[in-house]
Symmetry: C2
Subunit: 359 residues, 2 copies
């Protein structure tokens, strides 16, 4: 994990941008503290509960990167009144009007960033749309602080070649910079140009015009990222410790006590170049056991088998009681199944790091 943090921060420093990690991956204060110690400036959150928790734990500069709606404005106001430098986002005139009206009513100039759609995968205003300037005007003339523009090229998750990833990073950069230029040309402020996803952050050749990058899953990495091509399995810093509890030897199955509750139901590698089932099997010291995956999962049972031909020696290879580690498809989803991490420190000690759950 520390190596992943160092690698990403060094890249961001070399590209000349600030780095604002997305803490939705870990939802864990010691992890975010390690990111900050390495040079991160501010954090990104996916829920207002995360914002409140991380603010209480000493993080002041927080971007809530899900479109604001009226019902959540009182929570955002309360955080700002406590002193949290919370930034919110919007991608519609309707939400911008609601934010401005609520802000004026309560004497609060919310800092708002406009969400840009750089790849068509989810939310945001396309950089060339008329709505971009309408939203900017609504916020600025409505008395809010128009802080900047932000985008997330989530469709980078569908790629797996360095060339395609670099092209997507450039598409993400260019779209967000174009949006910022249009906002500024119309006479509105736009200090921040914020982009990012783990694959594009690790693939961008240059980030001219960008002021900050956001990324989350790089901190742990996972099998989806490995299939995309931005990490080795040896970079994956999160695993699930499990025990063999039985066999169906003639089928080549070992039954382990990690099912989908332990791994999550995420099957993100299903459509990628290597389908790892519910995860890659490793020894307890995290050596990959090639070809062995969790091929099936019930709530508290996993089916461990060899890809291709059944291993009818499986009961000898992995006797009952054998401990193994499973690398996850998707670190954000697997982590969410646990109240805490068991963190291995450099001196070999185990620390328990609690993790936020719920909303």
């Amino acid at each position: 994990m520390q190596r992943n943090i160092t690698r990403m921060q060094a890249r961001m420093n070399a590209l000349g941008v600030r780095f604002r990690p997305h803490v939705k991956t870990s939802k864990c204060t010691p992890v975010a503290q390690a990111q900050r110690a390495a040079g991160a400036q501010g954090i990104t959150v996916s829920t207002l509960k995360e914002a409140a928790q991380f603010y209480a734990d000493g993080f002041g500069d927080i971007l809530y990167a899900v479109g604001m709606v009226a019902t959540k404005l009182p929570q955002a106001l309360a955080l700002r009144r406590q002193g949290c430098d919370l930034k919110i986002i919007t991608d519609s005139v309707a939400s911008a009007e609601a934010i401005a009206a609520f802000g004026r009513q309560h004497g609060e100039a919310f800092e708002v960033w406009i969400e840009i759609d750089s790849d068509g995968h989810r939310s945001g205003i396309k950089p060339g749309e008329a709505a971009l300037l309408e939203v900017a005007r609504t916020l600025h003339q409505g008395g809010m602080q128009l802080g900047g523009v932000m985008t997330h090229a989530g469709s980078s998750y569908d790629l797996n070649s360095p060339e395609a990833l670099a092209a997507m990073a450039e598409q993400e950069r260019a779209a967000c910079v174009l949006a910022a230029e249009r906002v500024r040309a119309a006479g509105f402020p736009c200090a921040v140009v914020s982009v990012g996803s783990t694959p594009t952050a690790l693939s961008a050749a240059q980030l001219d015009g960008v002021t900050e990058v956001r990324a989350g899953v790089y901190v742990f990495f996972d099998l989806v990222m490995h299939n995309i091509g931005v990490c080795e399995t040896s970079d994956i810093a999160l695993s699930v410790l499990t025990t063999v509890i039985g066999h169906q030897a003639e089928k080549g199955w070992a039954i382990v006590d990690a099912g989908w509750m332990a791994m999550s139901r995420d099957r993100g590698t299903q459509k990628q170049r290597h389908d790892f089932g519910y995860g890659q099997v490793c020894s307890t010291d995290c050596e990959v056991l090639p070809g062995y995956v969790l091929s099936g999962a019930n709530q508290e049972h996993g089916i461990l088998s060899r890809e291709g031909e059944a291993d009818t020696d499986i009961a000898t290879r992995f006797p009952i009681g054998t401990q193994l580690r499973i690398l996850p498809n998707h670190a954000c989803a697997t982590g969410a199944q646990y109240p805490a991490y068991h963190a291995l420190t450099e001196d070999g000690e185990l620390a328990t790091w609690s993790r936020l759950h719920g909303w």
Copy 2:
């Protein structure tokens, strides 16, 4: 929920068997209390943490329905020493020997049930296998209490006709009864014959020779169960409340603030007759809005769209701020994403029911 509980208990009473609900679905004491109030005798759990929590909350008769391994025996012993009538299971001579050795070492005659494989989907000994009697002998002669046999026809989840479900229920019953008869014929005790899954429990024509049934998800039901054919969508007692936060109108998308963190990554309907994506969209009073589903999900964003042709009026139909409910694919997985349920009582009040998380 109360209707689902009443329905299942009435069926079990009519079939002349005891009912032992699997509380892994709700992991929630008030839910299990409602099941007990309706007539349930004992509970089934999927983790020893559940066993400890439910024992602390007044449930004494507990079946831990995941194969026991040596490393968990101290926890099981501690629970029994506290007075919990904990039953454990095994499907191998190796585990049976470990249980018997540990039990003798600590002067504890564990009650052990033998797990039977009635459908080839996971763990268990086939009823005709020689290993069945070896395990029985190991436990009985090793000084343990051989309590009975149990099976779970999990492959009932792959079916969707009343005839196939009734046939699977009969297969489950017959396999478990045959195993019990073999154990008894060999001179060993076998008081309990325990079978069950929600689909088979609701489809069995008769349960001759069975002493108890286990089922879990029936308490909430979900879209997977609806596709299997054992409930209507109006029986589904668990839903996720969400708010529309934006649109991509030309694509026919509404963006909601329920993503996979809110719904879980479970895509159990993907291979069924109706793929509901990440869930069926309903009004806040749970009227199904036919054809509208969560077609995509990121961590805190859901993409709500119409099946088939895009609904380009979506922004008018579901304006920003609209509240909706989403019915889940899999109640066990969706519930696991939450620290608590907001339970609607018969008099219209909301109660907060906490839910167990982690291991």
